[in-house]
């Protein structure tokens, strides 16, 4: 009996420690890279490294002395959820990805994001790993989208306490009851919009600004509206600091869209909607695409693609349940974007 209790204790302890170990891994990767790091981050990592190592030693001692077999079973669990397989994967080189021939912007004076902020040089391999596993591995085929996700430093958009899980495949709370969408959904929605360097995008629901940044890597201009002023201000500040000169943030009611800057080639609504605001339909260009989650803010939601034909008639197409990302290799055929 005691043995089984200890196995349970150790297994759960190891699971908790796993979170902390990831920070240590980040640190090791960080040392390998030459990019800078903000002043507080090493202190935080150091603190958690000490705690984690101490806990790890304790857990290992328990496991070795009392329940030697528990580590084996844990290993099997990892293998089952695909993480062990990932460990054997060769690191992905960003430059090796097949690059789709980019359409050149018509206007040569367009503002492009600057990538001079130190955050872009940090945690590059984690982003590459995230894209390989959760984006490309889950069926996203647009190389421009993959490249955008490899470029945008997601860790710059999360709160300090969540830095360690910035590149995991799940949403992360950003305060005020809002979350930063999981990378797969960001990629999926961006791919569905079929953006090119001439695209002008309207986003409703800026949140942390991450989705806008991803779109800004591909499109010409991104106009984003956030109803919560506090979030709008912080996202604006963050995006400006990161050098996203082609993103324009406004604190306003997204229902009305941004009439002065419209019409738009693509509209992305990142907050759940029970209906589609008529002004947004009007601000969508003929042949334009709009993607949004259907449903209540905290209930069941389905991603829906709205298309507008040349005559202005609108159609919808249900895509997949949102908020939660599929695990690697578990994307059903039905969940992939329709070719049409």
């Amino acid at each position: 009996m005691r043995k089984y209790l200890l196995i349970a204790f150790c297994t759960y302890g190891t699971m908790l420690i796993e979170d902390r170990l990831e920070i240590i891994v980040f640190e090791v990767i960080k040392i390998q890279e030459k990019g800078g790091m903000n002043a507080n981050y090493p202190g935080l990592v150091k603190k958690w490294m000490c705690v984690s190592l101490a806990l790890l030693v304790l857990a290992v001692l328990f496991v070795v002395i009392f329940a030697g077999k528990s580590s084996t079973s844990r290993g099997l669990t990892w293998a089952a959820d695909g993480k062990q397989a990932d460990a054997n994967q060769a690191p992905v080189d960003v430059n090796e990805q097949p690059e789709q021939k980019r359409k050149e912007p018509d206007d040569k004076k367009v503002l492009r994001p600057e990538h001079s902020h130190p955050a872009f040089a940090q945690r590059i391999q984690e982003r590459a790993r995230m894209v390989a596993m959760y984006i490309q591995g889950a069926g996203i085929r647009d190389p421009n989208v993959s490249k955008a996700l490899r470029t945008v430093p997601r860790h710059a958009f999360v709160r300090r306490g969540d830095l360690y899980r910035a590149y995991r495949d799940h949403p992360i709370p950003i305060g005020l009851g809002q979350t930063i969408s999981q990378p797969y959904i960001v990629a999926y929605m961006t791919e569905a919009l079929k953006l090119d360097p001439n695209s002008r995008v309207l986003e409703i629901g800026t949140g942390s600004g991450y989705q806008a940044a991803v779109c800004a890597e591909i499109a010409k201009e991104v106009y984003t509206i956030e109803i919560l002023e506090e979030l709008a201000n912080s996202a604006n500040k963050r995006l400006k600091e990161l050098g996203y000169r082609n993103v324009f943030v406004k604190a306003a009611d997204g229902y009305f869209g941004w009439k002065q800057k419209g019409p738009f080639d693509a509209i992305i609504v990142t907050c759940a909607a029970g209906f589609i605001p008529p002004p947004l339909i009007r601000q969508l260009k003929p042949n334009g695409r709009m993607i949004l989650p259907r449903g209540s803010p905290f209930g069941a939601q389905t991603l829906v693609l709205i298309t507008k034909d040349r005559k202005g008639k609108v159609y919808s197409r249900s895509l997949l349940p949102v908020r939660f990302v599929p695990m690697v290799g578990q994307v059903n055929k039905a969940d992939r974007l329709p070719k049409k």
């Binding site: 009007r282 159609y315 908020r323």
Partner: protein
Amino acid sequence: MTTIPIAIFFISAAALGLELVLVRAFSIGHWYHFSYLVISTALLGFAAGGAFVTIGSRLLTRHYAKSLWGFAFGLAVTVPIVFWISQNVPLDELQLIWDRRQILWLFAYYLLFFIPFFCAGTSVALAFTIFAGKAHSLYFYNMTGSGLGVAAIVILMYGNPPAALLLIISSIAFLAALILAFGVSRYFVAATFLCALAVILLFGLAGPVSLEVKISQNKSLVYYRALPDAETLAVRYSPLARLDCVQAPTIRYFPSLSIAYQGRLPRQMLIISDADGISAINHFEDMNDLDCFDHTTSAIGYHLLSEPDVCIIGAGGGSDIAQALALNARSIAAVEMNSQIVDLVRDKFGEFASGLYNRNDVRIIVAEGRNFLQTTNQFFDIINISLLDSFTASAAGLYALNESHLYTIEAVKQALSRLRPTGLLSITRALKTPPPRDSLKMFATVVESLRRRGISEPAGHIIMIRSWATATIVVSPQPFSKSQIENAHKFAHQRCFDLVHLPGIEPNDVNLFHILEEPIYYESTQRILSAQCESFYRNYIYNIRPATDDRPYFFDFFKWKSLPYMIRTLPRQWLPFSEWAYLVLVATLLQAIAASAAFILLPLLIAKPIKAVRAGKLAALGYFLLLGLSYMFLEMGFIQKLTLLIGHPVFGVAVTLVGFLFFSGCGSLTSGRLLRQTETPKAVNLIRLAVLAIIVIGIIEIILVTFAFEWLISFSRPARILLGLVITAPLAFFMGMPFPTALRVLNISSRPLIPWAWGVNGFASVTGAVLGTFLAISVGFTILMLTALACYLLAAIICKQI
């Protein structure tokens, strides 16, 4: 001894009241699934008291006065403290699957709520141990205390927030502690009094520590309150729900609006029930402001009939009434169960609602929808049930998994019978994430109702359309005419709605505007209408077989067959999307069984006095286990039947619980009088006689509430409440006899088993509540009640072995 039963009365009242208040608080603050899981486990604390007393009986009985006081005092103090701590536990149910720390927080919830129930359970078990000879009298106080506790808390829930109710419960427990303190010393009396004062000052409504329910960030209310310039204009409390009226310039709630609609929208205010369920109040100057309601799927009925007399089930904030007015309804009868919603829309926000509830052509009826259809003599052209999920017994604080009496075959049949020959029943449901289930189950229910009315070709009587977010099913007792079919076609096409079913529909008519990979709605409805519907129900991934009154679980879509699919989609769909409620029930049952086994077996292994008892342990285990299970099964069965009869979940639950607990107490007292001198053979005979009476009365009453229902429902509501009490009284009276009588037997034969037996009975009650839900879902309430009678029979057979 004289004061102890009174103290037990108050402790029992506080414990049952606490259970109800916690369920209410959880429903407001968190997801329903977790409240079920946490509270049912916490309740085990009540029964764990029996195991604790068994193990520590020597010490506890030696200082019983102080011990009793201590646990009563513990209950009083821990109620507010534990609740306050729980509101500061950062549990985020949405993150449970990704953030492992959340499992710890969930476990913390278990532990916290276990404590007060453990204190209550220990004091009652200890009282039974010490005064086993007066078991009948104690049981009377225990049961009547529980019954009156339930009644008092349900009444107090009208208008009082959980914070106030918790303080009341704490005060009741302090009263019990004060009574017990007089039996110890005056210092204890003073200490109890001072502590009670401190708790009230500390946690009181004006005190520094707030017991307000913290609402999870995953509920809609938090989102709407955060909108710019959002104002909460009113908050109302009742046993049905907490209502928050929120207004903000940016609020727009039009869940079934066509994507083709380009017109204006009326200003709105939201009534949010239990921080999640939304109903909108619309402000309009003239009927043109309500044009948007003509662009929802639920408007189709008004394009098939002109100037109809309309009945709206679930009026809420009045959107459906506004729609009916805008679409030229001649008269409107609007049924709303929650009188507080009616008061808000009619009086407090009457001006904002543009006098909607005060119009001459609008009649507001405060009633439960199904009950109104059962009792009204009126006939309508259109009965509209739109985006409504009826309040259920679970919302009133019971162990139920969202049973609904509005979406059963019998309910649809009832609604069809209240229509004029050319009338329409219109039901609108929100579309769920694929694969579809909710709207298909509704379609299947409608088809089955028509078949039961003797219509062999139901296809000609049904029209179903869908938008990107909702589906509306329109059903008529007569086949639709050619012009009606053309109108439906035109209505759908103009508004970009897709046809799902229409008499004479062709495959190329479907999936045109809201495109799915495959026309799954069309294909599924055709299968349901075909002769092979049985095989379709059997093979479909979700349970879409129509619900019945006996198994009123419309929202149960779970099938064991679909478990691999659910597990595969778990990381993507998690709780808000999947049909996990049934699995939560499984988890709860497993938890309850595991905890019960541990607490039942532990005393057997380590308590010396029990070890010393040579015989009768197995029989006692079986007997008290069967009693606990059967009592709970019968209680649950009658709650369902009486809720349907009385027509209001709160009254149904209150009448059943009060009736069962109070009359059981009376039965216990009477059996004590009958058994002045305890002789085992006499006691056994009494138990067997009582069981015989339970079985006979039980069968008669099951037949009565099943087959004479139509006659019983014809009485007025006060008469039906009285009838409910009359039905429960004789059965509960005899159900109160077997437990205390057996305790009296144990007092002679194996006294150390008394607290253990109390614990076994308690565990059986908790496990029985979960197991009963399982049985009700699987085999229906009638079989559940018959199972209870069989359990009583078994208990009577083995009672001689105790």
